[in-house]
């Protein structure tokens, strides 16, 4: 994952509350390998008719090169399916602006370089009002957590850790492996305190004393 600091692109309004993960990507597409791309599945059943033809005035159909989505409360609620984020990212979306996000969706987003930018309900109202006549160019700055839309600048809320992660494009596995020793020590202590933390059916495993050996 590569990091980023600012992004300028076209913003579209998805004027709905509770855009859940089942809408973002219907389950039937999720057996597809990621290498085939998930962009075409994004909001599939909302933006395409049952014969697969696109509904022309659906926001992201009208502006296929949009990279910023402005929506309403509880965006990404529901499932832990990271495929919902893949669909957005593969479509070309870099930022979603909304008053609130599903907790798991938000952390999945950050793990894929997608910014979940939280702003107030009133700011969303105002932004959506500005987009009624069509998409507009918007600039998002991660370093000072601001969104510039026309002549207004609004601040968004984002956890500091997530801000750093997005800017640096950090990969957690690399970070964690630096703590190998602490993990091993903590594991040994944990297993001593609760030996059943290693399931008892794994008798061979325990008698092999792997439970006190670091990985």
């Amino acid at each position: 994952m590569t990091g980023w600091c600012t992004h300028t692109g076209l913003a579209v309004a998805l004027d709905r509350e509770n855009v859940d993960t089942d809408q973002l990507i219907p389950a039937r597409f999720m057996s597809t390998p990621r290498s085939e791309g998930y962009g075409d599945f994004l909001l599939h059943d909302m933006r395409k008719k049952s014969d697969g033809t696109p509904i022309p005035d659906f926001p992201i159909n009208a502006v296929p090169d949009a990279s910023i989505v402005i929506s309403r409360r509880n965006f990404g609620s529901g499932s832990s399916r990271e495929a919902a984020v893949y669909a957005l990212v593969d479509f070309g979306i870099r930022v979603v602006i909304a008053p609130s996000f599903g907790d798991i969706f938000a952390s999945n987003s950050v793990n894929n370089g997608l910014l979940p930018a939280r702003v107030s309900e009133a700011e969303v109202d105002a932004a959506i009002a500005k987009l009624v006549d069509g998409a507009q160019e918007v600039t998002v700055d991660l370093t000072d957590k601001t969104i510039r839309l026309g002549n207004t600048t609004i601040e968004f809320t984002l956890d500091d850790v997530w801000q750093q992660k997005l800017i640096n494009g950090w990969d957690d596995i690399d970070l964690t492996q630096k703590h190998k020793r602490a993990i091993a020590a903590s594991r040994a202590q944990h297993v001593q305190r609760m030996p059943w933390a290693i399931p008892v059916q794994q008798t061979n495993f325990r008698s092999a004393r792997r439970d006190t050996v670091s990985q």
């Binding site: 004027d15 709905r16 509350e17 509770n18 859940d20 089942d22 809408q23 219907p26 389950a27 039937r28 999720m30 057996s31 390998p33 990621r34 059943d45 909302m46 049952s50 309403r72 509880n74 609620s77 529901g78 499932s79 832990s80 399916r81 990271e82 495929a83 984020v85 609130s100 599903g102 907790d103 798991i104 952390s107 999945n108 793990n111 894929n112 956890d159 500091d160 850790v161 957690d172 596995i173 970070l175 964690t176 492996q177 703590h179 602490a182 993990i183 903590s186 594991r187 944990h190 305190r193 609760m194 030996p195 059943w196 933390a197 290693i198 399931p199 008892v200 059916q201 495993f205 990985q215």
Partner: protein
């Protein structure tokens, strides 16, 4: 010493370190994977890293598991085969289609004793909150996090705020954990518990069985809470004892001692507290397209004209999708079919409560009953519940996620209306254009009997009179 909550005790016991920015690195005791975890296995394969703790990782085929015959398509068969080969490659115990322990991941974890008080449990599924019913720290994670747990057996997580949902009094007859859950979600909204770990307390929660507690914790995520939990007690210990992966006799007393120290201290404070009176809760059904669109079955379809701003717009869209007119009595809504299943409501007690309503009656509409696991299926058959369902005209099928997520081919046709024991009435969740009404197993059984949404208490009353 300052007083601590269940959340604090569980958190502290698993925290390896905390970064300056407040994020904790937590040790994971049980990692449950399923067919959907293929992205994560692909990620670790890309890096060339092994699974750090195969002995703490368990796989199960559930999301794509066929409930009738073999896999519906090649793509589905491939998903199941990929899980089996990943499990095999990494030396992970996997409850595959031919294993008598197979079932829905959140049903089999507790059933096998993999889920225990005091553990940290992760799974790439948002309903992992179910396991919190045992006093465990259990939460759903995305594919990147699943890959991280596979590679390191740890997870980075910022500690959530603690929320208490205290339920006083007693639930009335015909009212269960599902109604209780939908009641608080309707009250606080689908994002009411966002950023929080919920601890359920109070007499109504204490008197729930483990099955009921699991239903309650399962639905935490539908109110936005990634974590739901209940302090362990005698009911918990009795459920756990003797399960295949539970502590054996040598460890049992020590385990009970430790588990008994987990409940929140009496004077512990919560960032958010909510109180509900169980005796005021009626059987609940959903009318819209999120679990917060829930009302007592005695109510009428809400009128968007009486709502404000975006809520009105959303309700209008939801009613349009659901094909419902404002002001209509909920009990006048006819259903086309029913579904009893899912990790929310397919445990033995759920099947018993549906069977109690269906016994000696015929269903007016078709439907399927999918037990939460093979073991639940065996037990239900031993109790003769399968006969009741079949005699009522419903189909008794194999276990898996089935129509909860419509991945295995089982689905509701567009425009059809289904009374369902599942957890999500999202647009298209049960199939493109499907209309889902969520409710308890007893309420689904009642809808099957009459062909429309029905207050199960009426049917139970008839029974008493007869």
């Amino acid at each position: 010493m300052t007083s601590r909550r269940l959340l604090d005790k569980l958190w502290d016991a698993h925290e390896i370190l905390r970064r300056d920015d407040g994020t904790s690195l937590l040790w994971v005791d049980r990692h449950l994977v399923h067919e959907g975890s293929h992205h994560a296995f692909a990620k670790i394969a890309d890096r060339g890293v092994p699974v750090a703790e195969p002995g703490l990782t368990f796989g199960v085929a559930d999301h794509y598991a066929p409930t009738r015959g073999g896999p519906a398509t090649d793509a589905i068969a491939r998903m199941i085969a990929t899980l089996a080969s990943n499990a095999d490659k990494h030396g992970i115990t996997c409850f595959g289609l031919d294993d008598p322990r197979q079932g829905i991941v959140h049903v089999i974890g507790p059933e096998q004793g993999l889920t225990l008080p005091g553990l940290l449990i992760n799974c790439g599924d948002s309903h992992t909150s179910t396991h919190g019913a045992f006093g465990a720290l259990a939460f759903g994670i995305g594919a990147t996090e699943v890959a991280h747990v596979l590679a390191t057996q740890t997870v980075w997580q910022k500690k959530p705020k603690a929320m208490r949902i205290n339920v006083t009094g007693r639930l009335g007859p015909g009212v269960g954990a599902k109604d209780l859950a939908l009641a608080w979600i309707a009250k606080l909204g689908a994002d009411g518990a966002r950023g929080h770990a919920i601890e359920y307390t109070g007499s109504a929660v204490r008197s729930l069985s483990m099955e009921g507690r699991m239903t309650l914790c399962n639905l935490s995520i539908e109110g936005g809470g990634r974590f739901g939990m209940i302090a362990p007690d005698e009911i918990t210990f009795a459920y756990v004892k003797g399960r295949p992966f539970a502590p054996n006799d040598t460890d049992w007393d020590r385990a009970i001692d430790l588990w008994s120290s987990l409940p929140s201290d009496a004077d512990a404070e919560f960032e958010t507290s909510v109180s509900l009176d169980a005796s005021e809760i009626a059987p609940i059904v959903t009318w819209g397209t999120t679990p917060e669109d829930a009302l007592p079955v005695t109510a009428t379809v809400p009128d968007p004209a009486r709502m404000q701003g975006s809520a009105a717009e959303r309700a209008r869209n939801a009613l349009d999708y659901m094909g419902l007119a404002p002001g209509r009595k909920l009990t006048d809504i006819a259903v086309d079919q029913v579904f009893i299943g899912s990790c929310t409501n397919a445990r033995i007690e759920d099947l018993r409560s549906a069977a109690a309503v269906l016994a000696g009656r015929r269903a007016k509409v078709p439907g399927i009953v999918s037990p939460g696991s093979r073991q639940v299926k065996v037990q239900a058959e031993a109790e003769g519940l399968d006969r009741i369902f079949v005699d009522a005209g419903l189909e008794w099928v194999g276990s898996g996620c089935s129509m909860c997520v419509a991945m295995n081919g089982d689905h509701v046709e567009a425009g059809k209306r289904c009374a369902s024991t599942t957890n999500r009435n999202f647009r298209g969740r049960q199939g493109r254009g499907a209309r889902t009404h969520l409710m308890s197993p007893a309420m689904v059984a009642a809808a099957a009997v009459t062909g429309h949404l029905t207050d199960v208490r009426e049917l139970l009353k008839e029974r008493e009179v007869a």
